[in-house]
Every structure is written in structure tokens, then in C-alpha cells.
């Protein structure tokens, strides 16, 4: 496929251009979308190309999420823009009590083709209410799919699959990654939900990551290579459904696993993943599973405080050294 280098924002916008052209039932609703073309530029060109299908709503998260759900139940395929992922707290009833459950509660009468698009993550000195990584909450809610892409090419392929999926999909994109550049094929393509990717092959340890932690692991792998430790990187891409087969294949080879995420440690996705690995792959493990994650505090404002709380490359390296006994 022909390739070129573009940002994650541009990859998202390109995917949405393709999908909104293909399917006129798709629309985007959220706060302050039209004027900014998305506050991170992620909807560039869409308001002009699709008038009336990029909609500025009042600051009313319950009603916005409700518009997503109610319209998905009655023939549309909405994208709900959460503005900042932290604001899901203002519409948890609509997402977790209603959208996640309505198909199940009604005995499978309906589908809920809705994408909840959530820009998340820390590092912007945005403090505790604009920096969270909340994916684990939704993994813990039966009825929602959870996607957390890292590279621009993943963003394009996964958002397109999410939009074609008939179930509600929580789609988390890290704010620090919008400007990240990467190879993105120009042609339309899909990356199926529930398919992890081995992005670096290695034999000594498996680094399990998603979203921003993928880049941490890439940097850590370079440092580890100098230490003669050959790390394999598995980018999970979708947390629910989880591609356990790819995870298992890698761990059967390396016999060691380090899980890295930016969300805080306790009750994070790493806890679930570590439990699955020890249940299913105990005999393949040569060391305890390590987790690298943020400290268990709200994200603080002052740069020194924030940096202290977030996982770093050196943390990943140290965890790998611990499990490889090197």
C-alpha cells in the first residue's frame, strides 16, 4: 500500500471523511466542534464538507450522550464527542446504565451503533479533571467495547471499524498523541476490533501496552536493546474484546510479561490482564508479571508533580530488568 507520514489527528479526520461519505447516517455531536473543527483539530474539514452533520450541542453531557443513544436506536450511527474523556462522569447513566445495557435488557431487540470518542491522558499540565485515563471503568461494564489506539495508522483503521460496529464503542485517544506522526496508508482500510499487533518482535520479554504506553515501550525497547535485552511489543489496540491469543503467543515465546499503562495502577487494566495471564499461562511464566502504571493519586498540576506520577521509560526498563533478572 502507498504510504505517507501524517499525524493522528489527520488520520482520524481522513477516516471520518471516508466513513461519513460512505454512510450518511453518521454524524458527530459534541461541544464546540464546528468552530475549532474539533478542539484538537481532529475533525478538520468535516463541518464544511458535511454541513449539519457536525453538531455543536449545549454543554449538556447527559443530553448529548442521550442523543447518541436515542438516535442510534432509531436509525442513525452517531459519534459522541466527549470533549475531554473526564466528562464521561457527567453522563455515566446514559453510557453505563442505558447504552451498555439496552440491547441486553431488551433480549437483543436492538443494536446500538454508537462511538463515544474520548480524548484522554495526562502530560499537558491540565490537572486532575482533564488528564485521566478511564478505560478500565468501561472494560468493567458489560456491553461496551473499548478501543485505545496508539499510532496514526491504528487510529484510522480502528475508528472505521468502530463506526461500522453495531455495538457501542468507547474510543480513547491520548491528547499527547494527536500531533504524533506516522505512516498511514492513503487507501481506505479497516483494522478489526479485538486484534492486537506485535509491533516489535523480541525473545526475552513481552511488553503489553496500548495508547500512549506504546510509545513508552518503544523507547524502553531501544534502551533495553543496549542492555542486550530483546523486548517484544504487543500493542493491544482493543481492550474489549481482548485479543488474548496474540498475548498468549508472545508470552509462550518470551515467558515474561510487563504490562504498561498510563492509567493509575490499582484496579487498572493491567490488573485484569495480569489475572488472565496467570490463569491461562501460568506454566509458561518464568517470572512474576510486572505492572508499570501511574501513581494512585489524581493527576497533579505542577510539572514536577505530574511527571513524578506518570510512568516513565526508566520505569519500564527497571520492570523488565526485574522480570529478566538482569
Amino acid at each position: 500500500m502507498k504510504e505517507r507520514i501524517i499525524s493522528a489527528s489527520a488520520a482520524l479526520a481522513e477516516a471520518l471523511h471516508e466513513e461519513m461519505t460512505r454512510d450518511e447516517r453518521i454524524f458527530i455531536i459534541g461541544e464546540d466542534l464546528v468552530s475549532h473543527e474539533g478542539i484538537f483539530g481532529q475533525f478538520k474539514g468535516l463541518p464544511q464538507k458535511f454541513p449539519g452533520r457536525v453538531i455543536d450541542a449545549p454543554i449538556s453531557e447527559s443530553a448529548i450522550a442521550g442523543v447518541g443513544l436515542g438516535s442510534a436506536l432509531t436509525g442513525m450511527r452517531p459519534i459522541v464527542d466527549m470533549h475531554f474523556s473526564d466528562f464521561v462522569t457527567c453522563c455515566m447513566d446514559e453510557l453505563c446504565n442505558q447504552a451498555a445495557k439496552i440491547r441486553y435488557m431488551s433480549g437483543g431487540q436492538v443494536t446500538v451503533p454508537m462511538v463515544i470518542w474520548c480524548p484522554d491522558g495526562a502530560g499537558l499540565r491540565a490537572a486532575a479533571q482533564h488528564s485521566q485515563s478511564l478505560e478500565a471503568w468501561f472494560v468493567h461494564t458489560p456491553g461496551l467495547k473499548v478501543v485505545v489506539p496508539s499510532e496514526p495508522a491504528d487510529v484510522k483503521g480502528l475508528i472505521k471499524s468502530a463506526l461500522r460496529d453495531d455495538d457501542p464503542v468507547m474510543f480513547f485517544q491520548h491528547k499527547q498523541l494527536f500531533a504524533r506522526q506516522g505512516h498511514v496508508p492513503e487507501e481506505p482500510y479497516l483494522i478489526p476490533l479485538g486484534q492486537a499487533a506485535v509491533k516489535r518482535e523480541g525473545k526475552d520479554v513481552t511488553l503489553l501496552c496500548y495508547g500512549s504506553s506504546y510509545y513508552l515501550c518503544q523507547e524502553a525497547a531501544r534502551v533495553l536493546a543496549d542492555l542486550k535485552i530483546d523486548a517484544e511489543i504487543v500493542d493491544l489496540r482493543t481492550l474489549k474484546p481482548l485479543d488474548m491469543e496474540t498475548v498468549a503467543q508472545s508470552i509462550r515465546k518470551t515467558n515474561r510479561a510487563v504490562i504498561v499503562h498510563e492509567a493509575c495502577l490499582t484496579g487498572g487494566y493491567g490488573a485484569e490482564l495480569a489475572a488472565r495471564i496467570q490463569e491461562e499461562l501460568f506454566d509458561y511464566l518464568d517470572a512474576p508479571i510486572k505492572r508499570v502504571a501511574a501513581r494512585d493519586v489524581p493527576i497533579p498540576f505542577s510539572p514536577g508533580l505530574e511527571d513524578y506520577c506518570l510512568p516513565k521509560v526508566s520505569d519500564v526498563v527497571a520492570a523488565v530488568q526485574a522480570v529478566t533478572y538482569k
Binding site: 454524524f27 450541542a57 449545549p58 449538556s60 453531557e61 447527559s62 443530553a63 450522550a65 442521550g66 442523543v67 447518541g68 443513544l69 436515542g70 438516535s71 442510534a72 436506536l73 432509531t74 436509525g75 442513525m76 452517531p78 453522563c91 447513566d93 446514559e94 446504565n97 442505558q98 439496552i102 440491547r103 441486553y104 435488557m105 431488551s106 433480549g107 437483543g108 431487540q109 436492538v110 443494536t111 458489560p142 456491553g143 467495547k145 460496529d165 453495531d166 455495538d167 479485538g194 474489549k240 474484546p241 481482548l242 485479543d243 488474548m244 491469543e245
Partner: protein
């Protein structure tokens, strides 16, 4: 509105069916044959029937935990409803929903709801979708005086007004939000006053007078279909039963309940109207009760004879691409 006798008797028949359905539900719940908890709308039949009598099959209704009346008035299947209450495989939700989550999307019923005011944001979406799809459908959300104090009501009423969504906000003020009287929990006595704050028409009507309700709803439906936006209707009524079946009701007096039951029962009021205006006879109305009982008996027999779902069916119907409870591998 000029309804002929056939229409009027149709409304009466539906009100009677709602009453008998809920009376049946109370009996089987008390006997331990209906599990969980159920909330009955006995005494509020004029509201559900009056509003739904103005709707088409392709219009939408979001209902509440007290939603049997709205369901029946919108045309729900009695067999499937009864079977769902009994937790049977043949129920509307295959036994996964129960009374609080009954839905029939094929006739526009977007679901009962276990969350107070939970249906309003969904109705906003239905209204928005109608606008996007450029049809002349309307969407109705029923909610209670208790729900009227929740935050999403504010968000949705404002949004519906700003965007002129084809929505009827129908608050059934039955005087009691669970154990708390409306007078102790609401800032105003006529809830329709609040509509002014959203720049939409608001009207309070006698919610036990089916024709008064119908008149208000008809006007609101016409306004919505024309694209002129939402209307807020307060149906003043009374919850004859407890908040839930088995509610000890220590918070109110029997005299209060008696007054509403004896003086203002919506079905009695409508019976008197029909006989007085020679639309039917006492005997004719009695036959409606008897016919409804026969129909309901069939639904109960259907429900009782239906199988329970197999336990492992609990893992079905979560995702379209089913991962059996979220565990794909």
C-alpha cells in the same frame, strides 16, 4: 375533538385492560409467582391512554419503571408482557428485563427504565433522529414528579427547545415520589410552570380525565409534527398503589388514597361520561371488563405455560458479535 363512540369505547377498553393487567400483576406478585419488584400505575390510566391515543405506530415512547400502562396503550403484546413479568423465555426481553426494562422497538417503545428520568435523554435522541431523517414522527417521554427534579430533565428540555425537537414531555404528577410528597420535593405545584423557563408551551391538565389529557396531547403532537418543537404537559393524577408492590406506605393516610380512589378514579369518571352521553350502557361497559378479563386470562395462561430461559442464555444478547459475556478468546 370529535371522537365517535367507537373511538371512545376503544380508549375505555384500553384503560380497562391496563387496570386489569396491573391488578393481575399485583396478585401474582403477592403470590410469589412474579419475581423482583413491580411498580403499578393503577389510577393513572387516563394519562397513558389519553396520550398514546394521539400517537401513530411509528411514533416513539420512552417510559418509566411505572410503565405497563404506556406499553399497553402504545399497543404492546399482552402475552409477551405477561411472560416477561413472569421471567419467561417467551417474554419481550426473553426474561432479561422484567417489568422495569420491557421494550418493544417494533412499535416505537424505547423501553421502560429503571433509572428515574433515564428515558428523557433517550427521547432527545429519538427526537433528534426524527429531525435528521426528516420524518414527521414524534417522540414522547413519560416521567414522574420525582423525575422532574433530576438534572437530565433540565438538559433535555433546554436542548429540545433550542433545536425544536418533536417531543412531548409528559410528567405524570402522581403526588408521590416514592415516599416523598411532591409538595416537599418540588419548587412549584404546577410543574408546567417550568416550561416557561425553556421557552416551550406548558399546560397542566386533569390527568384523570382521559379526554382532557387527549386534548392536550393532540395539540402537542400537531405542534411537534409541524416542526414547531416540544410541549410540556403535566397530568395531575394520583398513585393509588404504593411506590412498589409491598410498600408499607407509612408516609400517607388511607383517607388520602380513598379520596382519590372513590371520587376521582379515571375509569369511573370515564364510565359515567360514556353512559351520560349515551355512548354506551352500563351493561355494555361491563362486557368490556369481561372481554378484557378473558383476553388477559389467555396471556396469563401463555406466560405460565411458557418455559423459563435456560440459565446459560444469560450470556446471550450482549453484543451483536457475541463474545459470551465479553470473553472472546
Amino acid at each position: 375533538m370529535a371522537e365517535d363512540a367507537k373511538d371512545l369505547l376503544g380508549f375505555y377498553r384500553t384503560m380497562v385492560m391496563v387496570r386489569q393487567f396491573e391488578t393481575m400483576a399485583a396478585e401474582y406478585f403477592a403470590a410469589g409467582e412474579i419475581p423482583g419488584f413491580i411498580h403499578l400505575s393503577i389510577g393513572q390510566e387516563a394519562s397513558s391512554v389519553g396520550v398514546c391515543s394521539c400517537l401513530r405506530p411509528d411514533d416513539y415512547v420512552a417510559t418509566t419503571h411505572r410503565g405497563h400502562g404506556h406499553m399497553i396503550a402504545k399497543g404492546a403484546d399482552l402475552n409477551k408482557m405477561t411472560a416477561e413479568l413472569f421471567g419467561k423465555k417467551t417474554g419481550y426481553c426473553k426474561g432479561k428485563g422484567g417489568s422495569m426494562h420491557i421494550a418493544d422497538f417494533s412499535i416505537g417503545i424505547l423501553g421502560a427504565n429503571g433509572v428515574v428520568a433515564g428515558g428523557l435523554p433517550i427521547t432527545a435522541g429519538a427526537g433528534f433522529s426524527i429531525k435528521m431523517r426528516k420524518t414527521d414522527q414524534v417522540a414522547v417521554c413519560f416521567f414522574g414528579d420525582g423525575a422532574s427534579n433530576r438534572g437530565p430533565v433540565h438538559e433535555v428540555m433546554n436542548m429540545a427547545s433550542v433545536w425544536k425537537l418533536p417531543i412531548l414531555f409528559v410528567v405524570e404528577n402522581n403526588q408521590w415520589a416514592s415516599t416523598t410528597p411532591q409538595t416537599a420535593s418540588g419548587s412549584v405545584r404546577d410543574l408546567s410552570i417550568r416550561a416557561a423557563g425553556y421557552n416551550m408551551p406548558g399546560v397542566s391538565v386533569d390527568g384523570n380525565d382521559v379526554l382532557a389529557v387527549r386534548q392536550a396531547a393532540q395539540k402537542a403532537v400537531e405542534r411537534a409534527r409541524k416542526g414547531d418543537g416540544p410541549t410540556f404537559i403535566e397530568n395531575k393524577t394520583y398513585r393509588i398503589r404504593g411506590h412498589f408492590e409491598g410498600d408499607p406506605q407509612k408516609y400517607r393516610t388511607e383517607a388520602e388514597v380513598d379520596e382519590w380512589q372513590k371520587e376521582k378514579d379515571p375509569i369511573d369518571l370515564f364510565s359515567r361520561y360514556l353512559v351520560k352521553h349515551k355512548k354506551s350502557t352500563k351493561k355494555g361497559l361491563e362486557k368490556i371488563w369481561a372481554d378484557a378479563a378473558i383476553e388477559l386470562d389467555k396471556a396469563v395462561t401463555f406466560a405460565k405455560e411458557s418455559p423459563f430461559p435456560e440459565p446459560e442464555e444469560a450470556l446471550e444478547d450482549l453484543f451483536v458479535t457475541d463474545f459470551k459475556g465479553g470473553s472472546p478468546s
